[in-house]
Structures are given as C-alpha cells and as structure tokens.
Amino acid sequence: MPKYSFTVNGKDVEVDVPAEMPLLWVLRDELRITGPKYGCGVGVCRACTCLQDDEEVQTCMVKAEDADGTEITTIEGLADGDELHPVQQAWLDRDVAQCGFCQPGQIMTAVALLNDKGDDVTDADIDKIENVCRCGTYGRIRQAIKQAAQNM
C-alpha cells in the first residue's frame, strides 16, 4: 500500500493505507485520534470537520492521498497546552454542549468561520453553518461564536 506523510496537530505522521481511504478513518482507526466523529460518511452532518492547511474540511470526504503533505488540525490540537482556544473557551462559558458528539465538528467549523470573518461575523454567516446538532444546541452555538469573535 502507498505511504502518505502529513502532520496532525503539529506532529509528523506517516500512514500506509489505501489511497481512497477517507482521512476520517485514517485519523480514527490508524492514528487513534477520535475527536473527529463519524455521523454520516457523506459530508452532510459534519461531525468529522477538521482543518486542513487552516481550511475547514469534512474528513470523511478527504482521501488519504489528498492529505499527503498537508497540515491537519483536529479538536485535540486546538488548545495551546492547557490554554483553550477562544472558541473552546466560549463553548465552556456558554455551556454549549449536551451529548457532545457533534461539538468537535461544530467547534472546528466555528474556528474556520472566525479565521475568515473575525469579529465581523454576522447572523447570516452563522446561518450558513451546515453542521447538525441533534440535541439542538444551535442557540448556544450562535452565542458562543459571537462571544469568541470578540476574543480572537
């Protein structure tokens, strides 16, 4: 099988997997990084969202070969040691999570959005977020994004 090299949360990794294997399963099964979650496998629910070279991606839709040479950031790599990222901190301050399963993806999506929009983020921008939260925490997600926008 081919070998692919990339970084995950700043660490160099090399994996020996089929070219088409989705990055989600490379992370979860090969590298045992389980923050990105499987929710649909077709890029719809977005529980698997991570950053690839600082851009939001649904890792269930990224082939292993397309991860080669890139920088991947998962929820596990977002905090700087014990210091949480402003989006994580806002999630705590607003007590966003319920079951928590979609939240790694929600947080990574919010990070990408705020990297793009900064404190200009609007309700209309937030409305474009497609991530599903089955517990229905959308109202607190909205508030947390607005709070984080002020602290980034």
Partner: protein, 739 residues
C-alpha cells in the same frame, strides 16, 4: 462504567478516579420513606373508570409515569452507595444513562449540596447492568431527577451526619457546631478535616449525633443556580469518549449488510468476491442481515458494499406511508361516541403525523467480547438489564456483563440495543472481540422511529365555552418491549390501569388536556405493523397530541371571536399554567403587529409535574421554507435544580419541534424507508433555528423538581404549528408540513 483496555492508554477516558481510589468506605445507604404517599395517589387513579381501549378521562393528573418510576425504583434505592475515596472524591455509580440530558450534572449538584462537597469533587459514573436493582435502572420519561431527588439527598444527608459525628469525636467537640464545606468538615478555630481523612471513622458511626435531615430549599447553595455540564471540558477538547471511540486489542470491526426492505431476510449470500481482500476477517449471517468483519472500519464498510446477498422480501413490502396513514385514519372511530351538543357549534378535525427517526448523532455502535461461557459488552443502554437478558438469550451465554457507556444522543433510541445483540452474535461466531457499527443509512433505514399517527379531535362549544372534548389517537404501535411494560404493570397493578397493554398504560399515565373543556375523553388505538421498527421518541405521544389539540384550540378561539392566547389563559386548569402563559405573553409581546406572511403562535403544556408555555414567531412568506424567527419559552419545573440544564432541555425541545413540525419526516416506499441521512431527513440546521431565543425558568413553585427532558417538544410543536397556520392562513393537517 468500566472502559475496555485501550491500545492508547494515555487517551483513555477519565476513569482515573477508579485507579487512584485506594480507600473506599461505604458511608451511607438511603433511608426511604416515600412509598406511602404514592400508594394513596395510585388508589385515586384506580377510582377512574378504566376499561379496554374505550376513551378515558385523563388520569395523568392523579398519577403519572414519573410517580410509577419513583415507586418502582424505591425498593432498591438502598442498594445505591456513595463512596469516599482516598483522593477526597465522592463517587457515585448512577444506574441511568447520560445521553446529553444533563442528568450527571444534576446528580453531582444534589450530592454536592447535601454533602457540602465541591461539585468538582463529586464523580458520577454510569453503572453497569445490575439486575439486583430491578426496575431501578431504566432511563426514560423525564423521570430520573424526580426518582433520585429524595433518596439521593437522604443518602447524602446520612453520610454528612456520619462525617460530622466522626469529626466531632476526632476533635472532642460537639457535632452541632460543625459544618461540612469544600469536601471537608470545618470546626471551631478553623479546624479542618477532609472527607477522605474522616471516611474510615465515619463508616463506623452507627448512631450519628446530628440528624440526617436533608436541607430545605431555602438553605440551598448549589441547587437552583446554574451549573455547567460536568464533562464540558472533556467535550470541547475531544476527550469525551463514546463507545464508537473505544477499541479492544485484537478486535475487528463489523458492518451489517441489511435488506432492501424492512425486515427482509437473507435467502443466500456469497462472500467469495471479498474473502481475499485485505483486512477481511469473516462474514456472519444474522437474522437482520450479514455481518462483514474487517480489521478497520473503512475496510468493513467497503467490503460490505461488495457482498452479494439475495433477499426475501420483508413483511410490509408493497406498503407505503400513505397506505399506513389511511389505515390509521380508519381507526379513530365514529362520531357517535363523542358527546354532541345540538344547540352549539361543533368541530371535528383530523391530523396526520409522519414517522420520525431518532437519528442520534452517534449511530448505533456496540462492542462485544464473547469468550466461551462469558460475554462482556459495551453499549449505551437506557435499559441495560433488558440488554443483558436479550444478549444472553441471543447467544446462549448466561454470564453477560453489560457496561453502560455515555451516549452521543438518544431521544429514546437507546431503549433498544440491537447493535449489542448483533455484536455479541458476531463475536461468538468469529471468536474475536467485535466492534459493530450501523452506518448512518442503516440507522435511518433500519433503526427505530416515532410511529406515524393519526389524531382526531372533536369538540363541541357554545357561547365561547367548550362543553365536550374528545381526542382519539391512532398510532402504529410503539414498541414498549424494553422492560417498561413490566415496570408499569408490576407497579400500577393496584391501580386498575394495569389491565391495559403497555402502550395504553403509558398513554394514560402521560396524556392530559390542560384546559377546562367540559366532558373530556382521550384514547389511543394501536396498529400493530410487523416489520416497522418503532420506539418511544422524545415525549412519546405528547408532541403530536399537543400539536393536534393546539390547532383545534386556535380554531375554536377564532370561532368564538377570542384571542388564542387569552382563550388559553381563560380555560387553563391550573394557576401554574396561567402563570407561564401570562409570562410568555408579556415577554414575547403577544399580539404585536406582524408583517404579512409572519405570525405568532402560542402553546402551553403540562406534564412530568412541570408546565411550560412557548410563544414563537414565524416567517412563512415562503410556505415551503418557513423559519421560526423568534421563540420565547417559560418553564415552571417545580423546584428548578439546574436552570442551565433546564434551559438546554427546552432549547433542544424547540429544535425537535422545528424539525418535526416543519421539515423532517420519514417516508416508507414499498416497504422500505426512503431517507438515508440528514441530507434527506431534514433535521434543523442553524438557518432553521431562531436567532432570537429567550428561555425563562420560573422560580420554585413547588418543593420538588418536575421532569423537563421532554417538556420542550410538545409545547414548541403546538406553538409552531399554530404560528404556521396563522401566517399562511391555512389549516395544516399533515406533519411535517413540508415533507
């Protein structure tokens, strides 16, 4: 919960307390004095006329399902225990499932309050299946906080009195001058001793020198103030672990190839095309399909696509949702059995509700390790003892240990544990530990659903006053084979209600009409439908029940020339209901002018000894793409324990209602579920939810907590349906309206 050995120990879940614990003393068992009160209420319920499936006056005001749970759980509460560990933590194993509803956090608060412990020192873990607990290990019907409210506090108060007594002896002072705070006892002159230091002596105290009386609400320091989720930090850092994140060394992953029609059976299969593929670990025929095992998840998913299977058609092949709705519509009876009023006006309306998937974010997953005569299972189970029995029966192994894992959502889904049964069967067959997953498509197409239902509401009224009200619900049978039937029948047997089947019992223990509508009857008629997998879905019958009633209430108000909100206020039975209505009307600016295509809608719902009101505003200028733009919810949860948790439950209920009233439903086409993922099962996204949302938790109105886990669904559903009707000038009769 016991976590499986992982192959990456440093990322293991926070089971550290288990490893660190070196001194454990069971300091208290609860004293229970609660049974008597409810026997009386049961007797009152028994006085209500009950016969077969005839329409009944609602009895849920006298005795509700939460009461049944409390009675059923009481006898085994003495088997609960609090443990005081060497690192000064207080550990409690909770025989319930945390699914995101915040139960763990509420339990932490109850214990911390009564003990005088810091909330971060109280560790609540999920208990393995414990058959000796009998009915006291069943997570359902917004009953858990209510059920533990008295026994947990009594247990903690007993522990506190022993700790105080032990400290008094240690310091040779009177126990009366001592207090617990900060997970320790504080005495005169600033003397301090931690619970850990006192636990050994406290365990020997037989007669405490201070009374073990739980605190009064006026003395609360922790309860009543919002506390963040106990596991919030783990969640936002990706360290919260679910069963899908666990891995047992040498385990394989299994994905089941499932039939094209519901409950179709395998005729034959051929795995020759995949036998030599990399990672292939075997195939196992099951009653539900063919399990394909592989080393890695993605391999299993890919190999499953290539397996050739011939299928027998399932029992409802050829039947579609529309056929089912038609059958249901024929089951709501004739007009004759409702009271008619020759002088007044009459209304008779019917409503259809589609099937709805539970669709928790985490698909069905379970891990099974079956070795010879024993089995070990990891699964998020609401009814783990039933899981244990079902698994034992399926694999013919008596020694089955079931570890309960946290759930990535449930909404009723984990009352059933099909994945665990399948995992055990596969593990037994291939002789390896198995992690079995359902793909999202499997979960939507072969999982459980809220059954489709048809409602008929007939009312007669005169001079603006409702004189009779009959609500008939016909539903595809809700599967109650998860232990609850036994629970209710054994508990409610004295009440006379127990003559009814489980679904009828549940219906009668939960549904009520919260308005003074004269002679009132309600009934449920079940349509058994083999092959359709149903189950209780958050709020069970209540969301559809309330939606249908609210639309009729609005119609009557309109005919009577009354304002819909004032009409509700005038007819509400209880003061608590009137108070939440008044508050929501004021805070939500009821009656303010709305642009064309926009409207407000209002509802009130009483259940679980709580009551809520909801006022929404909707923009339905495009009726195919309506948006709830604002929602105001007011909730009276009796004695509110964690206002933040209550708000979260109400917000979640609102999202459920937006989804199921406006846009998310399941079709059955020729015996197969059409929808596959959230792409076509159109669960609400951020753009569907209101940018403006206010949730107000009322100050304490009683001295006991009411249930809140499901309360937000019906009250929001009713309000949204009414708002949509008013905004569009239509009479919506089929839900979701865009389906």
């Amino acid at each position: 919960m016991v976590h499986p050995a992982t192959d990456h120990e440093e990322a293991a879940p926070p089971s550290g307390t288990r490893r660190r614990r070196f001194l454990t003393y069971v300091a208290a068992a609860p004293m229970l004095t609660i049974a008597g009160k409810f026997v009386l209420e049961g007797e009152a319920a028994a006085a209500a006329p009950v016969a077969g499936q005839l329409p009944l006056p609602p009895v849920s005001g006298l005795m509700d399902f939460g009461d049944v749970m409390e009675i059923a759980s009481a006898p085994t509460m003495e088997l609960m225990k609090l443990e005081f560990t060497g690192d000064n933590k207080v550990r409690f194993e909770l025989p319930r499932l945390e699914v995101g509803q915040g139960l763990n956090t509420a339990v932490v608060m109850m214990l911390a309050e009564e003990l005088g412990a810091r909330t971060q020192d109280v560790v609540v873990e999920l208990s393995d299946a414990r058959p000796e607990l009998m009915f006291n290990q069943f997570t359902a019907a917004s009953s858990s906080v209510r059920t533990f409210w008295k026994p947990l506090r009594q247990m903690a108060a007993t522990a506190r009195s022993r700790l105080l007594t032990a400290a008094a002896k240690k310091w040779s002072v009177s126990a009366n001058g001592l207090v617990t705070q900060g997970t320790g006892v504080v005495g005169p002159g600033g003397r301090k001793a931690t619970f850990a230091e006192l636990a050994k002596d406290a365990a020997k105290v037989t007669v405490p020198s201070v009374p073990a009386t739980p605190k009064k609400p006026s003395e609360f320091k922790v309860l009543g103030k919002g506390l963040n989720r106990a596991d919030a930090n783990a969640i936002v850092t990706g360290k919260a672990h679910y069963v899908s994140d666990m891995k047992i060394p040498n385990s394989v992953v299994a994905v089941v190839v499932r039939p094209p029609t519901l409950d179709g059976e395998v005729e034959s299969f051929d795995d020759s095309a995949i036998r030599n593929a990399p990672g292939f670990k075997g195939t196992v025929e099951l009653s539900t399909g063919v399990a394909v095992c592989a080393e890695y998840t993605w391999q299993a998913m890919e190999l499953a696509k290539k397996l050739e299977v011939s299928w027998k058609q399932g029992p409802i092949a050829g039947m579609s949702s529309s056929d089912i709705q038609e059958k249901l519509a024929g089951m709501t009876g004739s007009l004759d059995d409702a009271v008619s009023d020759g002088d007044g006006d009459e209304i008779d309306e019917s409503f259809d509700f589609a099937f709805v998937s539970h669709a928790p974010m985490e698909v069905n997953y379970a891990i099974a390790d079956v070795r010879g005569s024993s089995a070990e299972i990891w699964v998020p189970a609401q009814s783990p003892q039933v899981a244990q029995k079902d698994i034992a029966a399926a694999i013919g192994v008596l020694d089955v240990k079931v570890h309960v894992t946290r759930a990535g959502g449930s909404f009723g889904r984990h009352l059933f544990h099909e994945a665990a049964i399948e995992a055990a069967e596969v593990s037994k067959a291939i002789g390896k530990p198995v992690k079995l997953m359902w793909t999202r498509n499997d979960d939507t197409r072969h999982g459980r659903m809220r059954p489709a239902s048809h409602h008929r509401v007939k009312a007669s009224f005169r001079s603006g006053k409702v004189r009779s009200w009959a609500h008939k619900m016909a539903s595809v049978s809700t599967d109650f084979n998860h232990g609850m039937g036994d629970l209710i029948t054994s508990t409610a047997v004295q009440s006379g209600l127990a003559k009814l089947p489980a679904a009828q019992l549940y219906f009668n223990l939960t549904q009520s009409v919260p308005y003074e509508f004269g002679s009132t009857t309600i009934s449920l008629n079940d349509l058994p439908l083999e092959g359709v997998h149903t189950g209780s879905w958050r709020s069970v019958h209540s969301a559809t029940f309330r939606t249908a009633e609210d639309l009729v209430v609005d119609q009557i108000a309109e005919k009577a020339g009354s304002d819909p909100a004032n009409f509700r206020l005038e007819n509400a039975k209880t003061d608590r209901a009137k108070d939440v209505l008044r508050k929501v009307m004021k805070d939500g600016k009821w009656g303010r002018p709305m642009p064309k295509g926009h409207a407000q809608g209002i509802s009130m719902h009483e259940e679980f000894k709580s009551v809520a009101a909801c006022l929404v505003e909707i923009n339905a200028t495009d009726p195919k793409n309506p948006r709830v733009t604002k929602a105001v919810m007011v909730v009276d949860a009796g004695l509110p324990l964690n206002p933040k948790g209550i708000e979260a439950q109400m917000m979640g209920g609102l999202t459920d209602a937006i989804s199921t009233v406006l846009q998310a439903g399941i079709h059955i086409d020729d015996g197969a579920v059409r929808e596959g993922s959230y792409a076509d099962f159109k669960w609400a996204r951020q753009r569907n939810t209101p940018p403006e949302l206010q949730i107000h938790v009322m100050p304490a109105t009683t001295d006991e907590p009411g249930g809140v886990g499901e309360l937000g669904v019906p009250v929001s559903a009713g309000a949204i349906a009414c708002a949509y009707a008013r905004a569009t000038g239509t009479k919506p009769r089929s839900f979701p309206v865009n389906y």
